[in-house]
């Protein structure tokens, strides 16, 4: 069934198809349509699980943590400030190894208030132990949620599925609502007893020790536990790839964790994630027609970080333009940091990276801007600059200080 729906609605349909037993989400712009849509599914009798309206994001994640520990499939969704409110429990859910699927609609964090689009909210949760995926289209949102459940329940870790606010959340595209029977075949009902999760249902309900949480760790090595968490992340690359293969065989569409587009013979590639990938495809198509040897690398999986795939995609190139729709103030774009780390290969010739930051606070990342970034990268020698600002419309007085004349009071 093909429908013209927004990214938020695609997320709601994705959740519906996976038949979670408990859905609990607190509305926040630009995510609100997700809980609204699911409540409509309830009203229409389409959603048979329990949809719970709660009083905060603390409760939204806390409730699904409780339900997941109780052994049922759960779903929640949030954005930006809401994700920040959940921060404490993000660590908790991963440490408890609960297979929760959370949709995050990427939005900037205040102050100042901004309701549009930026990925800093979820990228800055990179150390919480959640797996993270970024989506380019509404179809990808729906499909990634279905894959996310299978991955979460196989590995025993929570998964965050991210989509850009406004550009995906509010924009309608054609989306195929996957056939329920095929989804059921792909994603069988959740059986916590056979899941590999450690502290959740299986251990908690069946085996000692009785305490699940920090007190329990007193008799157990926290560090060994973290080691296992890290290992699970590393093991999940292969699991995610196999799941995507199976999905592709069943539904005809797949999403590589790191995708190369027209990059086979490209000296210069542009790397980005989320909705900007679609725009970048358009620019690469254009410039290819004009004869430039350029290509695109799309980063879909951010945690665990697919270092080996990044190396495979980038080694041998001359230059890489990285477009971050996020910023780690005082350092640089977050993707840029991660890519540089993946390319830290002593003795090997690695491509030069150019770290662009664009689209913060919902500024459009237009084809013109992307073209500018590619041209800048091709023309210029390596630049010793943490951030190359792209599309900064209103420069303020700090330029003239150049960091040297700020008076110490």
């Amino acid at each position: 069934m093909i429908k013209v729906i927004t990214g938020n609605e695609a997320a709601a349909y994705g959740a519906l198809l996976c038949k979670p037993a408990v859905v609990c989400a607190y509305p926040i712009t630009p995510q609100s349509r997700i809980p609204e849509q699911i409540s409509e599914f309830v009203a229409q009798g389409l959603f048979k699980g329990k949809f719970v309206n709660v009083e905060s994001e603390v409760a939204a994640l806390g409730y699904v943590i409780g339900a997941s520990a109780g052994g049922v499939r759960v779903f929640t969704a949030t954005s930006s400030q809401g994700l920040a409110v959940m921060h404490e429990q993000l660590h908790w859910a991963a440490g408890a190894r609960l297979p929760i699927v959370l949709v995050n609609v990427n939005r900037p964090l205040a102050a100042p208030w901004e309701l549009t689009s930026e990925q800093t909210d979820s990228l800055s949760q990179r150390d919480t132990g959640w797996m993270q995926f970024y989506c380019e289209s509404n179809q990808e949102v729906l499909d990634t949620i279905i894959q996310a459940y299978k991955l979460a329940e196989t590995v025993g870790l929570p998964v965050m599925v991210c989509l850009d606010g406004v550009y995906l959340s509010y924009v309608a595209e054609t989306v195929e609502i996957r056939d329920q029977e095929v989804v059921d075949y792909f994603l069988p009902p959740y059986h916590p007893e056979v899941s590999s999760q450690r502290y959740s249902y299986k251990i908690f309900m069946k085996e000692p020790p009785p305490m699940f949480g920090p007190q329990g760790y007193i008799r157990r090595s926290y560090m060994a536990d973290r080691y296992e968490l890290h290992k699970l992340h590393q093991m999940s690359f292969a699991v995610a790839e196999n799941i995507n293969e199976e999905f592709k065989n069943l539904f005809g569409t797949g999403y590589p964790l790191v995708e190369e587009y027209k990059a086979a013979d490209a000296d210069t590639v542009i790397l980005t994630s989320g909705s900007a990938v679609g725009t970048a495809r358009f620019v690469v198509d254009q410039m290819r027609e004009e004869g430039y040897k350029i290509g695109l690398v799309k980063l879909k999986m951010f945690r665990p970080f697919p270092k080996h795939l990044i190396r495979r995609a980038l080694l041998g190139r001359k230059k890489v333009a990285i477009i971050d729709r996020d910023l780690s103030p005082g350092q640089c774009g977050i993707l840029h940091q991660e890519i540089r780390w993946a390319l830290n290969l002593p003795g090997q010739s690695v491509p030069t990276t150019y770290g662009f930051v664009a689209g913060l606070g919902g500024e459009d990342i237009t084809p013109e801007l992307i073209r500018k970034a590619i041209e800048f990268t091709m023309k210029n020698d390596p630049v010793d600059q943490d951030v190359i600002w792209l599309g900064l419309v209103e420069k303020r007085k700090y330029d003239e200080y150049d960091g040297k004349t700020l008076q110490i009071r």
Binding site: A21, V22, C24, G49, K50, V52, N53, V54, E55, S56, V58, A59, G62, Y63, V64, I65, G66, A67, S68, A69, G70, G71, V72, V74, E88, Q89, W92, F204, M205, P208, P209, P210, M211, F212, G213, P214, Q215, G216, I218
Partner: protein, 306 residues
């Protein structure tokens, strides 16, 4: 230990807090561990405890676990015990387990302060859980800092004299009763029959059930460890801590008519009140009087709200 002289009804019921020489890890004279002991005796084994940080969470597990392994307990972040308990209860019911009772076992910090929004939400949704607040009137686990359950004028490690706590104690029962929940009760470790009868009553009901148990703390309240029961009894008999239960926000039962001992008896036995001025003692007493006014009003159905 029956107050009524009749045979102690629950004397034969199992002990879940490790009996000697196993013991527990709480401070000598701890009121909370007694509350848990009586509560579990009445509640039985088909329970899951949900525990945020606090004295109890620390006590029952480290360094010597105070609970047997077949009593399941789920630790939670500080502000999410009622929320997580609700989610867990929902999941178990969906899986067809209608028997297991989920009990959130929390201190006054988790209840009166950091977890109040979640508590209100869980009560509004009428989650099928029992929520217990063991109230030792301060953040005792972290070393006796003040909470909004600390009485006015008490010294704590964050309200040292002469700047003792200036604010009154929050009335958590009124807050919870205003939610119209199926069951809300106060209880005291000095009246175990009453406490356990209420637990049995709550266990026979469904929906959100709330307990406020006063658990004196020798470490923080500054009295000798062997006086815990006496302090708890004085709290009831002076009228400072009335024993009552309320169903659906209106049907109130007073479980014990206090002997109206002087409030000073309760105050003077504790070091934390040693800085109270005569005027502050009068204020303390008038707050107790106001509390009783409201209680009597609820009991007799009188209203002066216009």
């Amino acid at each position: 230990m029956s107050m009524t002289g009749k045979p102690f009804k629950y004397a034969e019921s199992p002990e879940y807090i490790n009996p000697p020489p196993g013991g527990h890890s709480a401070c000598p004279g701890c009121g909370e561990i007694l509350a848990m002991r009586y509560f579990l005796k009445a509640a039985g084994e088909k329970i899951i405890l949900v525990m945020p940080p606090g004295c109890a969470g620390a006590n029952i597990n480290a360094p010597a676990p105070s609970l047997p392994p077949f009593i399941r307990a789920l630790a939670t972040p500080f502000m999410t015990a009622p929320i997580l308990a609700g989610g867990l209860s929902t999941a178990l019911r969906l899986r067809g387990d209608m028997e297991t009772t989920i009990i959130a076992w929390t201190g006054d910090g988790a209840t009166f302060d950091i977890g109040l929004a979640g508590l209100s939400g869980a009560a509004e949704r009428n989650e099928d859980i029992i929520y217990v607040c063991y109230d030792n009137e301060g953040y005792m686990n972290t070393g006796n800092q003040r909470s909004s359950a600390t009485p006015r004028g008490a010294r704590t490690s964050t309200s040292p004299p002469p700047t003792t706590k200036p604010e009154r104690k929050k009335d958590i029962m009124q807050i919870m009763v205003a939610h119209g929940i199926p069951y809300a009760a106060t209880a005291s470790i000095a009246f175990p029959d009453d406490l356990m009868a209420k637990v049995r009553r709550a266990m026979s009901m469904r929906g959100f059930r709330f307990f406020h148990i006063l658990t004196p703390c020798p470490t923080g309240w500054l009295y000798r460890a062997e006086k815990t029961i006496e302090v708890a009894r004085l709290a009831v008999e002076t009228g400072v801590f009335p024993l009552y239960e309320i169903e659906y926000g209106s049907n109130i039962r007073l479980n014990r008519e206090p002997r109206d001992l002087p409030v000073e008896d309760f105050i003077r036995i504790q070091g934390r009140f040693s800085d109270l001025t005569p005027q502050q003692i009068e204020e303390f007493k008038s707050e107790i009087a106001r509390k009783w006014q409201i209680l009597r009003m609820l009991m007799h159905g009188e209203s002066n709200r216009g």
